[in-house]
Symmetry: C2
Subunit: 553 residues, 2 copies
């Protein structure tokens, strides 16, 4: 979510301390949809899942003050209103909005959830405020989102009385509500019992009406059918979206649940979030309906009454932080830390220390060079698998370049070995030690078993470890009275190779490739654990490789 | 996050309408750490990133009412307090907490952030309230989290005056603060300039002090070194955690940033979240420090002054909803919907329709049977790759069982073909059609290129598609005057095989395997798109397979 700037979205509503509704639900919904949430509080309430125990309204001038603090400083991408409580607050909000956005074309989308009565029956909007909402707020709204009783109240107050008991009533009511001046109306059907037969009948009569069956099975999904109940009689919830040019029905199965506290708040908050992100009203409503529906179905128990829906279901937590200026390699750092002890035993191996002091016995180094010659064949082949696993020419080219580098390294090996009296035939005739086979064959195994990410993890311990050894020795060598002896050291070339610019550039490229994996497709705990296990194993195999050379002593 | 019940975590603090601090920041932090957030509001403020424009305190009796609504209904796992504004509110909170949790052992962790003055210099805690905080709140706190000036104020108020300018001062102050009665003290070092030299000097003098260098490079990380600045002089932030039995320093690089609004609120909110989840105070502090640090570094621009840190950086949005009772197959549904047209052309293919009517020419069916015989060899081999890619005996066994099933299916093929006058030699000698090679070789390609999840996607179109055809024909056949002719249909066995219980059980198992992939490792948009692309391609190859049989006409 950190890649793009989250839109700033504002709720103007009451506070529900128990966290299920009001600005608390709105802020959770804004966060769930990657928005920057803000909230002007119109009233405090004392409430919980069993009901409303008290209301403490905010003075209208302080509502205005909160709103002006925000509008005067922050670029707001969408606004929703919820419980406004009284006429004065309703009026001051409408007037502040109009006066701040004097130019109507500069106004952000405004979603008005005309909250009038709580689920538990508590009046949340004074009767005289309803008229102010109709006169001052509806005309500037992008969308109003009444439920059945709110729609009936708004219509009766504006002399368009209508009882809503059928799908036809809902559509007729949505058309009348549009006359109150908002750009669109979402009439929520949670309190109107309907079936698929009702929807199909209406769809046949009204070909201008579009039906979105997001939560119901579409054609060619017989295999997904699990509910044996006759689809045509199964109870449904139908929300009607009335825009100037079209009518859309959002159809979903009705869920019997006690966890519906804050459903209306959440729905309008999600719509505002998605409008703030630039989605169309239709798409925003579709996603908001689906999100709210899953929120009810995945609700966890809270309190003793009507619990809240689950706002967390659409989120997962990143286990690797995004790269930042002070920590540009979060994944590599986690890998190293997760196997810190083995990593240290590898990069600060006695083999390395003796090599740096120039005291490493010749036969140990020769053993290493011969086995490394055999190992590098596996290593090149593993990069061949990486080529085969690539999905872009870029990754094909980069893995191929590494194979070319390995082949060149092997040439150096041969020249180097020749100087120490070992012929190419000697190299090829060397029996492979178990530690070489273990490491080499494991690379090939990972390459066959997993995706390219896993293979990159397997190949990293070698690439990065030799780079670490090179830099460490270089750093140690510059210290006064260093234990590292470069002068006259028979292994000087080896140290220079791995601390040199050429190899270190390959290390930098490798780090970038590794970090890019975590950014492009952030792993969850499970996948990170798989990656760490491969890294740890290869680190151990690297240590084993040097152990084998030292065992000759 | 929906797998376990999120702990309910409560903040008792002021409201920041601009969303960067106060209960708004706390609710965002609770959500980021997968907790169920609640909030008692002690005061409304009108503020933004440039400063505080006004404060409207809540009456103490209404603060108590909010708190009692929550405590009386909901099982609270952790509480944090922030801005309490005045003595009366501070007192009523401490007293309500004590009286509700009369048994001290039943008390949830209580983190007290002693907010006294805003970053912009606005007094957020009346001077007389400081004494109440010391006398009534500190003794029941699990942790208090003062910054330098709050620590100095608390100490001077309790006659332990101390100026804090060095790391030694910080540790001494944390020890004195512990005497105020909380179980632990986190003294935040944001306003004390320190370097690594200071930390190393202190660590040498005080071996009892543990240093956590979460955000700094540890040993054996030379390759991750990107900042050329001398580490020993680089400015650091050090937070001191003083517990009864130990002292821990959390060291991180100092970041020059304007986006620090709400840092203290967020830090204490995250600590409360993690204590609510059962983490130790040390681990909670470590994670909270790291989260807040990354939040500052990844902050996006909001407002004209001191903007908020980024609360969203640790979250990613799920692109596949969790399975629910009304939608137990969200991934499969998305796959089918993403390729709806091709899927329909496949499962309602003319080949299928003519077969169901019994009018399919014999030569078309023979072509299909012969090519299917050749295709099934690829299919079995692809499951062999799935065996090779397995990481558990369970998945090895399940993929192996499918190979056994395919071998049995091939036997049926042979017997079937024999009845139609085709010998096994004829089957084996049949030239492979391009559509067979395309489909078969693509399965093997996916199996070599990707991980087991991708291979399962590739294998699903065949398994599920034939199941869909079977169920569809069975359903159509039961309709009055159905176009499907079962009686006397030469292909009856084929229809019965794929609509039968044996095959449909395999379909159910396949659906479970597919859905389990999305639950175990929820894909992001990128990976879902890769999966959908494979599914769509195989759906198209299935259609092409039947096209080839019909082209004979």
């Amino acid at each position: 979510m950190s890649e793009t700037v989250p839109p700033a979205v504002l709720t103007i509503a009451g506070s529900d301390p128990s966290g299920g509704a009001g600005i608390q639900a709105d802020l959770k919904a804004f966060t769930a949809f990657g928005c920057y949430g803000m909230s002007v509080i119109t009233a405090l309430t004392a409430q919980n899942t069993t009901g409303v125990q008290g209301v403490h309204p905010s003075p209208p001038d302080f509502v205005e003050k909160q709103l002006r603090s925000i509008l005067g400083d922050i670029d707001v991408h969408a606004i929703k209103t919820g419980m406004l409580f009284d006429a004065a607050n309703t009026r001051v909000i409408a007037q502040t909005f109009r006066s701040h956005y004097a130019d109507a074309s500069s106004r952000p989308p405004l979603v008005v959830d005309p909250v009038c009565v709580s689920t538990s029956g508590h009046t949340l909007l004074a009767p005289e405020a309803v008229q102010v909402l109709i006169d001052e707020l509806c005309p500037i709204a992008t969308l109003i989102t009444p439920n059945k009783s709110e729609a009936e109240l708004l219509l009766s107050q504006s002399n368009r009385a209508a009882k809503i008991t059928s799908l036809g009533d809902m559509i007729a009511a949505s058309e009348k509500l549009l006359l109150l001046g908002s750009k669109a109306v979402l009439l929520k059907g949670g309190h109107v019992e309907l079936t698929l037969a009702d929807v199909e009948k209406l769809a046949a009569e009204r070909p201008d009406v579009t039906v979105v069956r997001e939560e119901l099975l579409a054609d060619n999904m017989e295999i997904l059918q699990v509910n044996e109940q006759d689809l045509t009689t199964r109870p449904l919830v139908v929300d009607v979206l009335k825009e100037a040019e079209r009518t859309t029905l959002f159809v979903s199965p009705r869920i019997e649940s006690m966890s519906t506290h804050g459903t209306g708040c959440t729905l309008s908050a999600v719509i505002a979030s998605l409008l703030g992100k630039g989605h169309t009203l239709l798409e925003a409503t579709r996603q908001a309906t689906a999100y709210t529906h899953v929120g009810i179905e995945t609700a966890f128990p809270v309190g003793h009454g009507h619990g809240p829906l689950n706002h967390l279901h659409a989120l997962t937590q990143r286990v690797i932080p995004p790269p930042t200026a002070s920590n540009p390699h979060p994944l590599t750092r986690i890998l190293i830390q997760s196997a810190a002890k083995t990593w240290k035993e590898y990069v600060e191996h006695d083999f390395v220390k003796q090599l740096a002091q120039g005291t490493l016995p010749r036969e140990c180094f020769m053993h290493f060079i011969k086995q490394d010659y055999l190992y590098l064949k596996y290593y090149a082949r593993a990069y061949g698998l990486l080529v085969a696993k690539s999905s872009t020419y870029g990754s094909i080219e980069s893995a191929t370049q590494t194979i070319v580098n390995v082949i060149n390294e092997v040439r150096t090996h041969k020249a180097f070995s020749a100087r120490w009296g070992i012929s190419e035939a000697d190299l090829a005739a060397t029996p492979e030690s178990p530690s070489t086979t273990a490491y080499g064959a494991y690379l090939i195994d990972v390459g066959l078993q997993g995706d390219s990410a896993k293979l990159i993890m397997a190949l990293a311990a070698c690439l990065l470890g030799y780079g670490e050894v090179g830099l460490w020795l270089k750093k140690e060598a510059t210290k006064p009275n260093s234990w590292v002896k470069l002068k006259g050291n028979a292994y000087l070339q080896w140290i220079e190779d791995y601390s040199g610019e050429h190899y270190q550039n390959a290390v930098k490229l490798g780090l970038e490739t590794i970090e890019a994996l975590a950014v492009a497709d952030p792993p969850n705990a499970l996948r990170l654990q798989e990656w760490s296990a491969i890294w740890e194993k290869c680190t151990r195999l690297e240590k084993g490789f040097w152990d084998a050379s030292m065992k000759l002593l």
